[in-house]
Amino acid sequence: MQESKKDLDILLIDDHHMIMEGYKNVISKAKIFNALNFNIEMADNCDYAWGKIKTGNYSVVFLDINFPVLEYSKIHSGEDLGVRIKTEFPEIKIIILTVLEDHFRIFNILSNIQPDGFLIKGETTSKELIHCLEKVLYSPPYYGSKISNLLRSGVAQKSSIDEIDRVMLYQLSLGTKTKDLPKYVNLSLRAVEDRKKKLKDVFGVRGEGNKALLEKARESGYI
């Protein structure tokens, strides 16, 4: 008779079945988790996943960020779902697995969800996945190397984009010149320029003009 194993409910949320299959295969074949009896379930959209979470008893959720937009869906992205889980079921550990490499989105996700694990799909191998799960289970958090590097670079501290930044970006997008920005944000021109420089850092753009910055901000949904 085998020792009775501890049950662990895992929910995989990804729109690609093959990926979820991959996760399942990797996790179930991992030898280090012999003491655990994984109960792995899958959900290929956020609404369905949220329903499962509300009724289930999951310890760990593997969460993708991008989902195809469905007209009837109430929860459009993994990020929204993550925030919901975090606020309503803070005990559930969240591992984000995404193809996104956009610094800004990553920072946003980090600050909004504060996930227990964060991996970029592109750099993730089966070994890393197992390692991440292990870390999340026993000593969270675990961030993939790219994310760790990003955090270490120190951009993170500056990365929060507040109301003033949004107003500035909005005005710039309307064609307002930088020197006119103080009228709208109640800051000195110097402060405005500093903030603009910081925004450029956050969005990872270089150069003088506003074009690249605005493009990036628009891409990231700030304008």
Binding site: D14, D15, H16, H17, M18, I19, M20, E21, G22, Y23, N25, V26, K29, N66, P68, V99, K121, G122, T124, T125, S126, K127, L129
Partner: protein, 665 residues
Amino acid sequence: MRTQYSFLLLFVLLLSLTSCKDNNQVRHKNSKPTLDEIFSDTTLNKTQKKQILDSAYSSISTIQNDSLKNDNLLEISYQYLMIKDSVKFLCSNSEARNIFFRIKDSARIAATYWDLGNFYQSSTKDSAYFYYTNAHRIYQNLGEEFNSARLLLNMALVQKNVKDYTGSEVTTIKAITLLKSLKKYKQLYSAYNNLGIIFNELQEYEKALENYKIALNYLEMSGREYLYPSLWNNIGVVYQNSGRHKEALANFQKAMNYNQNIKTTDPKMYAMILDNSAYVKLFSKDTIGIHKDFLEALEIRKNLNINDGITINQLHLAEYFLEKKDSVTAINYALATKELALKIQNTRDYLSSLKFLSNTVKDSALNYSQEYIKINDSLQKRERAVRNKFARIRFETEGYISETKRLNDRILQTSLISAGVILIIILLYIISNQRAKNKLIKQKQTANQEIYNLVIDQQKKFEEGRDTEKQYISRELHDGILGKLFGIRLNLDSLNEEDDSESKSERFKYIREIQKISDQIRLLSHRLNKTSLTNVNFETVLEELVKSQNAGKIKFHIEFKEAINWDTIDNNIKINIYRILQEAISNIHKHAKATEARIKFDNLNDQLIISIADNGIGFYPEKIKNGIGLSNIYARVKKIKGKINISSLGENRKGTTLKLTVPLS
């Protein structure tokens, strides 16, 4: 002073001869000897000339053609004047004038008046003045300044002869003004000579001398040297009248000595100078030989029948004999003068003789004085009457001139107004033309704008489509393919360690998945190719218009049979075709109840043929002609000079076919 007459006649003759020169050519056609030739033949005497003239006149009367007749008639009439045949002259003159009035030849009418003036000039001076005035008026209106000036001069001479000296002076000065600008020196000499005579008569001798000096100048410039004696004689008379006998005598001698043969070439002038110089000698008490001179002059004048000369000559002789204390002979000469002067109506000499007699014949002095006063009074009255008549003629002429001027002004005014009106009409035409042009340009611009907008819209739509496509491809690559690859990689990764048959088949499954991914990538690549920019032209716009109709039940097809070079077709045509197509499609949607509609474009012999056919219920085109949709189509077809033919119920019962033909050139 008598010299003036002969001079005037000479002058008239000269001008008439010059005016005849034009006529020569007409007559040469008839190859007959011209009248000029005949009359320049000095061998002919007066009777011979008259015979020739009479035959010419009678032959010319038979000619019906006015234009042939008129020139010759004028010449014949003039020649009658020259040979002093009054009846024939007046007859032919008035006949000629009637013809010229009929053919409205004002210049020749004036010429006939001129002849008439010359005719009356020695007898009825007021008539002469009247006809000269008429002629002058016509020449003035015609703008013939030289003739106009010459007639003024004639008028001035007539005025001087009737002792209207002030009037004559005014007229002469008018003539001078014209002549100076024309540089006619001979006439200018004549005018200043006239002024000299006038001032002499008015006893303003200094002024008279001044004018004679000017006359002398012009005479020199004109080169008519034969007139010198006459002028010097006149100057001598002025000196004599002002009591400067020495100068007077000097001038008379100059006149006499100028031409050695004066006695034979100009006996009249010779007699005058001889008489005058003898008379001046009488005053300076140098009486030797003057009796002989007086008698020689008198003899010449009697021979030549110069009555005016005879009377004055006899008066001079009377004074001579009075000086010589031979009062009987003196009185006899004075009485002879009185008799002759009365006979020839020479009032001046008549008065002089009366004056002489009243002074000399002591016993009948009172009678002569009374007679003198009576004659003098009536003379003055008569002169005043003549002057008044002249003034009236002048006034009437001036009235006529001012009337003509008024008419001319009115004509000018009318023509100015009509010119203005015409100008305004032209301007209005230009403006409206320009407006129409601008309208056309504007229309063209709007058409260009509309086409441009259509193409831009289409381009935008294409670009939007391409953007969504790009987004789709990007997401597909990023999420779909990358995700799937990640899944496969993860799975294969987990299967890596295993080597059982199950794992092998699993791996095979993922290899198949990779196969699928490569298919998917190929598909995406295809789509990427398709989205690469399509060239948007009018054809694309039309295609899109038709394709966009396919959402409903009706299937729309569009077909271009020939390649149509839309770039060369006027935008106005294109936009109207587009609108017509829109209207037709809308009609099919609204009314046709069709299931299919076919739109065909064909290019045939510089004509665009468009057919829009549906398989709907059809209609009676002749009955629903006035529907808004159809009338819009008709209006647009008309705008692009096209033709439209609608065949529907009545001809074929299968739907409706619109056939539109648009000329492209």
